[in-house]
Symmetry: C2
Subunit: 611 residues, 2 copies
Amino acid sequence: MMANKIKRLLFGKPLHNEEITREKLPKWKAMSIFSSDPLSSIGYGPEQIVLILTVPWAITYGYTWLVAVAIIVLMGIVTLSYSQVAKVNPGGGGSYSVAKKNFGELAALTAAASLFIDYTLTVAVSISSGTDAIISAFPVLTDHRMTLNLFVLFGILMLINLRGVRESSNAFVFPTYAFVFGILALVAAGIFHIISSTTVIIPQTSLERQPLDWTIIYLVLRAFASGCSSMTGIEAISNGIPMFKPPEVKNAQLTTYMMSSILVVMFAGITLLIIHNHLLPVENVTMLSQLAEATFGRNFMYYYIQLATMLVLYLAANTAYNGLPPLLSLLARDKYMPRYLANRGDRLTFNNGIILLSIIAAVFIVIYHGNTEHLISLYALGVFLSFTISQAGMVVHWHREKNSCWFARAFLNCFGAIITGIVVLIIMVAKFLYGAWLILIAIPLIIFIFKRINSHYKDMQSQLALPPYDLITPSGGRNIVIVPIAGVTRVVANTLKYAKEISDQSIAVFVATDKESAKKIEEKWNSWNPGVRLIILYSPYRSIFGPLFRFIAKVESKKGPNDYITILVPEFETHRWWHRLLHNQTGLLLRNLLVFRKNVVVTVVPYQLEK
Amino acid sequence: MMANKIKRLLFGKPLHNEEITREKLPKWKAMSIFSSDPLSSIGYGPEQIVLILTVPWAITYGYTWLVAVAIIVLMGIVTLSYSQVAKVNPGGGGSYSVAKKNFGELAALTAAASLFIDYTLTVAVSISSGTDAIISAFPVLTDHRMTLNLFVLFGILMLINLRGVRESSNAFVFPTYAFVFGILALVAAGIFHIISSTTVIIPQTSLERQPLDWTIIYLVLRAFASGCSSMTGIEAISNGIPMFKPPEVKNAQLTTYMMSSILVVMFAGITLLIIHNHLLPVENVTMLSQLAEATFGRNFMYYYIQLATMLVLYLAANTAYNGLPPLLSLLARDKYMPRYLANRGDRLTFNNGIILLSIIAAVFIVIYHGNTEHLISLYALGVFLSFTISQAGMVVHWHREKNSCWFARAFLNCFGAIITGIVVLIIMVAKFLYGAWLILIAIPLIIFIFKRINSHYKDMQSQLALPPYDLITPSGGRNIVIVPIAGVTRVVANTLKYAKEISDQSIAVFVATDKESAKKIEEKWNSWNPGVRLIILYSPYRSIFGPLFRFIAKVESKKGPNDYITILVPEFETHRWWHRLLHNQTGLLLRNLLVFRKNVVVTVVPYQLEK
């Protein structure tokens, strides 16, 4: 079939169960695959700080480096905390598994709900920011922002993930290193400029800090909350430990340190340069683009940095496709999500999860019009919430195990949990009006849905379970066959033949909408005499289903407890598709309405038209 | 059910077959009901002439009255011709019936196709013009033009027609007379102004006619073609003769004359005043609105005229709802349209025709953005085409009957046919680029569709016809029952029970997507031992349908010619609707895919979940 061919072309040939691969990655490869998400945050994180501090006549611009230092400290704490998560949880699985093991259902579901939000927002934020990067370089694309976003989402990410990509593909290694190289070159060139003093000097007034008051404290906190988006994704490695070469935990930890170091250097460098160049927000141009232009001019290096930023951001969006569908399949296996999310498709990918993720991310992108700033405030909140939960889970773990130096370890995670918890509160307060309230509603709502789904599956299991030794014996009842007819035709003859095959109690029923047609059909029937009783129902209100259903109900009320009622629906299949439009789909409708009746078996007897 | 209650509220209770009414109307009532369509043309007709003649620096403005006189003469001819149609065709039915009786299939279908286009365009043009009238009075509505158009179409006209309105309702009598009164008052006041000379004098140069050249001839012809839209609807009475009180024909003719006289007076008056006030087209303000404002100022009379114009135009759109659905039902009965267009709904209305008309009119409105000018050029063409056909039909009729003075009558109709035929050619040439080419494609296309539908129904009839004395004898073959299962549950037990009822040759089939599940199901089955053979199909590519369909095909290839294959699809009905989302709809999909297989009977055995 045509549809099948197109499917093959888009998604490739089906894969055999045994083709599932579990490859082990060397550190340099793992590093690039897991860190596209956190490192790419540099594409929007530092900008978010300045964006807020420059709003009221730039009077708070001078606080930028303070906020930056606070974030760098936080990065250190989170990194250390997560290197411990890796040790305890070598099987991966992230905060849902940690919480499930250590706290039980509610915490696990909370973690799952916030991960669910995080992953979808990762996709939305990364795609929007990637598009921002390319729009900064090519302003002609400004009007096509939404089209670009949705094309990347559905046309590229969803498609290649449905096709199933090997996470280890070299295509995924390249953009991360290209991006790291570009940013480090930018930072180096920028610092060289500072030293050789060829750049503009910042107006000194702008860096003078105004005395603190509540407005300024609020702005600084908001800037801090937004800037925290620079470390989203730091947890990625702890979810993928089984993919490292042995010794897995050691390698994963080393990689985490490595990644964080690069992140800190890039973050500090970019923020420094933004302050030094005294950059201010410009619509439709990212700060990274301004910075690259100020440092290199519009030459090859500028375009290189914009393209690498775009690629790494789109790649970061892709990491959510590696994260959420497996989480959904875990949830589905634990019966918190629809069971079909656990099935692997043709290409061994979790198709349904991939499609679900794409649709929800699209909703976020469309609702927020690809406006990165507001998406990020939602995003950071979700991320820090799951940071806090998994750190707290670790504390409980250490306390329970009481290994050597458990106290020091527990203290570290406890400190991490408290700090990230405070960040959650700050974001909550600072960003409440900008969308954070949504998360407050969404997480309990998602948990509620998880629980309702779970209770439905449990109910069902108990209802469907077969009692032991429930033998199948013939019911001993009759099978009353009802054949609704629309005329005296071969289709009806064909159906009656089958009726006689499965029962000796058949009734044909005709619904007449006027008296002439009733008379005509009766005469035809009698002259044909097929050996089946015909009952004519007169329907002066011209409804077909009403009288028919009342008749079926009447038969139902008279039948014995072991009797079956079978409705045979004659149906002819037309030769060409458009012929279908010429027939009122009474058969189709009838069969779909009847299927909802509790005690009635519905049978479709086909009759094929030849031309 | 809720849905039923809403339906009742919107459409009213079902009506009994015997509640069909065939009321007789007095002349004054018939006049207002049938003439809303032609008289309302005054709302846009005169404007169309000036619209074209003022385009190139108003150099052709002076030709306006010439065009107007030509149109008035044409009105006279068409009126006389149609009063003869009334005489010959007292049963109504319009040009489709006339052509069918006198010319045969092709002419009848041509008439039907052009009527089909006319009626849908009547709706589109009248609604758009009605909205224009109200927008002229309340410019604040300008941005909501499309919303208003579609609301009037679906929210008012379609709804009340589905509900079924008595054409004789007094609600329909009022707007026509209100409109006639308003326009006559406007004309009278305008002429009074002229006489008492208080209005502005026209710049004399503007009325000086430029010497004719080809460009001007083309413009004048285009203006004439557009102006002809002023007489659309004149044929309405000849389609509704049975609704008049006896003597029907006489009364219908008198009403036609009456209506035409009013039409001529209004048309001449409005055109005169437009010329005298030297009105020029203004965007978003109709000329009728300009004229009313120039004559009365923005007082009560101005708003009265705008509202009456709006009402009468919407009412004119409604006449198409009285015309097209019955025509479609005639076509459906003659097997040129899908049969269900002939059925009367709950409220004795031709529901499907009403919905079809609304959808097509909406397409026209949306494509033309409610731009009246271009819609009208299409519209006038269709109307004059059907004028020509029915006049020509009359000529043939007179020639065939050869009554007293047949020659004079034939001459009159022949003259009418030639004149309207010339108008068709003029519109065709003058408006070719403005949409008339569309009609050239649409009419043959619609005729082609009519014929294809007809041949399908004929094919089907021959295939479905029952040979005489075709007795129903049991086939003597076996009934092989296949039960696809997804596990060992009560649902399956329930299904197998039914399988044993209808056959003693049942096979259960399980498609295993991995080896463990195959093993598990086999063990369960053996320990249960329901007395039915289980076949396990291993599907390493995890497709369910592929292996199952191949298995069915294998069984099919082995069965005897008289054997049946019945597939029993176990299906459980969930307790709440949203539970459905939690199950992959394999059963539903399976049954819909199987229904397309030629030789397989599909049976759904229900199992109801209790919670």
